[in-house]
């Protein structure tokens, strides 16, 4: 799959708003049927980048290509877009809203399928204003799918959702991905990117600072795991262990290359392991490693 040319490509994109440079020389390629994630904190330039790729915003310099051609107005007939913070018309029901957008794309006859795909069946007659955050995002996803897009853009689709609604949304995205739709996703939730994306690009201050498959990036930067113990359970005598030891509020976090050996050392020191947590390195750690700060900082 990777040997084929990318279906969507950003080449040295730059976007300036007055003196402020929002996107600074961003390049990447997205292959067909791939889920590509743009990660980064708020203000990193993700939304500006994705809007240039959508053809909604023009770049100051550089180019965005779809199937090797510059993206223009016609691209929107094959692209599905879920924007961040979109309002819909008041006083319309979910069903009426979907039908409105269907007509904008030439009276598509996929109402039932889209309603089913986005789990909107029981909500069809509900006023848009009465939807919860998760339901609203599912409606916006349904609108983005109306033209059966070959490329689907999702700009922070789960921001503000509770964990349950977020996971339900991930399931929906998973089903769309299985059907072969190419997806470009922006998020500042690293777990979301890890679960959904085949390729990620981490952005900070308008530039891409890391790019690749999530697992490959993690193993490229980390060869250790993270252990966490409540600070009360961690004896001072162990602070001399040859590990990176960090105090995080009420937790002691230490990074170890060999989990088995470290567990044996803790056992020898009679440490209470009932509240021990062990986790693999994740993308949050990667962002911290690359930028020196946490993603939500």
């Amino acid at each position: 799959m990777q040997s084929e040319p990318p279906i969507l490509e950003a080449r040295q994109l730059v976007k300036r708003f007055g003196k402020f440079t929002a996107v600074n020389g961003v390049s990447f390629g997205v292959h067909s049927h791939e889920c590509f994630g743009l990660l980064g904190p708020n203000g990193a330039g993700k939304t500006t980048t994705i809007e240039i790729m959508e053809g909604i915003l023009s770049a100051t310099s550089g180019e965005a290509l779809y199937q090797g051609q510059r993206i223009g107005r016609g691209f929107q007939s094959v692209a599905g877009i879920q924007f961040q913070n979109t309002s819909l018309q008041d006083y319309l029901t979910v069903g009426e809203t979907i039908r409105l957008f269907q007509k904008l794309y030439g009276d598509r006859e996929n109402f039932e399928r889209i309603v089913d795909d986005c789990a909107l069946g029981p909500l069809v007659d509900r006023d848009n204003r009465q939807l919860s955050g998760g339901q609203r995002q599912r409606l916006l996803l349904a609108i983005a799918l109306i033209n059966d897009p070959s490329v689907l853009f999702l700009d922070e689709p789960t921001t503000g959702l509770d964990p349950q609604a977020r996971r339900r949304f991930w399931e929906l995205i998973g089903h769309i991905k299985e059907r072969g739709t190419t997806i470009i996703l922006t998020t500042h939730y690293m777990e979301e990117a890890y679960v959904l994306c085949d390729q990620i690009a981490i952005m900070d201050h308008g530039s891409i600072i890391a790019h690749g498959e999530p697992d490959a990036l993690l193993s490229q930067h980390f060869q250790d795991a993270v252990m966490q113990l409540p600070i009360d359970d961690f004896p001072n005598s162990l602070r001399s262990l040859p590990h990176t030891i960090l105090e995080k509020q009420k937790l002691i976090e230490f990074h170890c290359k060999n989990v088995g050996e470290t567990l044996a050392e803790l056992t020898r020191a009679n440490v209470n392991l009932n509240r021990l947590r062990i986790r693999a390195r994740d993308l949050e750690d990667l962002f911290l490693e690359l930028t020196g700060r946490e993603i939500r900082a």
Partner: protein
């Protein structure tokens, strides 16, 4: 293209019709206003007499020094004579030697003013003018309905488009094959249809209850309403084309609507106001709309007579729509 325009038009119309507070306001406000003002201004015992004076620069006649008579210079003799016939002027005089005056023998106030004139100048030459009095309410109804259309068209399109832009809904539409022209057309048509429908309903209700007479054709009136509404909507689209906040758009729309209401002859005639005010008022669609509507309703004017107003409204619509389309921006930032 028509399918997309119809889809957006239908959605916007549903949004408006289901907003009961807005519909209620648009229907009941003009009815309440017409009834209220017709009661307030129906008193016949006002103590001011209104006399129009032709050739006012040579006005040195002693009658013109009479207190408690409002002497108004006027240039259009034909129109002034017609106003005397309708009791809108108590008398028209032309200074000179001898002085000539026009009065409606059926007008009580005209009778009193005539007695006063003849006391100072028994040699004045009388010209009688026949005609029925135009009630204030007959004159007021087109004004109030026009004003209601003005607010509905300006705020119902301009304000809503800005709200859509600010909330990101315009950006969402931008990501579909819908063009700016299709979007603007749908918004304008939706508001025009609803406003003309509501105005027709209110007009029918008020006409039946207050016995408002329409001398001319209802079809001509409908044409004035459609062209006038179109021009007002086009004006609002110029405001909405770029504005990114409701506060700013609201300020601009108020700046447009309040002088239009005051200067277009909604509540009172601009006859007698300074020439520059009358000229300035012509920049407003409502002025031409009300002139045409009153000509049809009161004078029984046909399409030929109101053609100048219709032509001006059509030009205003075209120019403002073209400007609004050129300036239109989908995005908030």
């Amino acid at each position: 293209m028509l399918g997309r325009i119809w889809a957006v038009l239908n959605a916007r119309s549903l949004e408006f019709v289901r907003d009961r507070a807005s519909v209620g306001w648009n229907v009941f406000m003009p009815i309440v206003l017409v009834f209220g003002l017709s009661i307030v201004f129906s008193r016949e015992d006002t103590d001011q007499f209104l006399v129009a004076v032709l050739e006012a620069d040579t006005a040195t006649h002693t009658f013109l020094q009479t207190r408690y008579i409002d002497f108004t210079p006027i240039e259009d003799r034909t129109n002034a004579i017609r106003m005397v016939g309708r009791h809108q002027l108590d008398m028209l005089i032309e200074t000179g030697t001898p002085l000539r005056y026009w009065v409606n023998p059926e007008s009580p106030k005209g009778y009193i003013v005539e007695r006063l004139l003849l006391q100072t100048d028994p040699s004045a030459i009388k010209e009688s003018v026949a005609g029925e009095a135009v009630r204030y309410v007959d004159w007021l109804v087109p004004g109030v309905l026009g004003m209601n259309m003005m607010f509905s068209c300006l705020f119902g399109v301009g304000y809503v488009v800005v709200r859509y832009r600010k909330s990101g809904f315009l950006k969402r539409l931008r990501a579909t094959p819908l063009s700016a022209f299709e979007f603007i057309s749908a918004q304008a048509l939706s508001r025009l249809i609803l406003t003309v429908a509501i105005t027709s309903f209110v007009f029918a209700a008020v006409s039946l209850t207050l016995d408002i007479k329409t001398e001319g054709s209802y079809l001509s009136l409908l044409m004035v309403a459609v062209l006038g509404g179109g021009a007002l909507i086009a004006y609002s689209l110029v405001v909405a084309a770029r504005a990114t906040s409701e506060e700013f758009a609201g300020g601009l729309l108020n700046l447009m609507s309040w002088p239009m209401m005051m200067l277009s002859g909604v509540f009172y005639s601009l006859e007698g106001s300074p020439a520059w005010v009358q000229s300035f008022a012509k920049i407003y669609p409502l002025t031409h709309m009300l002139t045409a509507a009153r000509s049809i309703m009161i004078d029984g004017a046909g399409l030929i007579e109101i053609m100048p107003q219709l032509a001006i409204l059509a030009v205003m619509t075209f120019v403002a729509l073209a400007l609004g389309s050129l300036m239109f921006r989908w995005r908030f930032t």
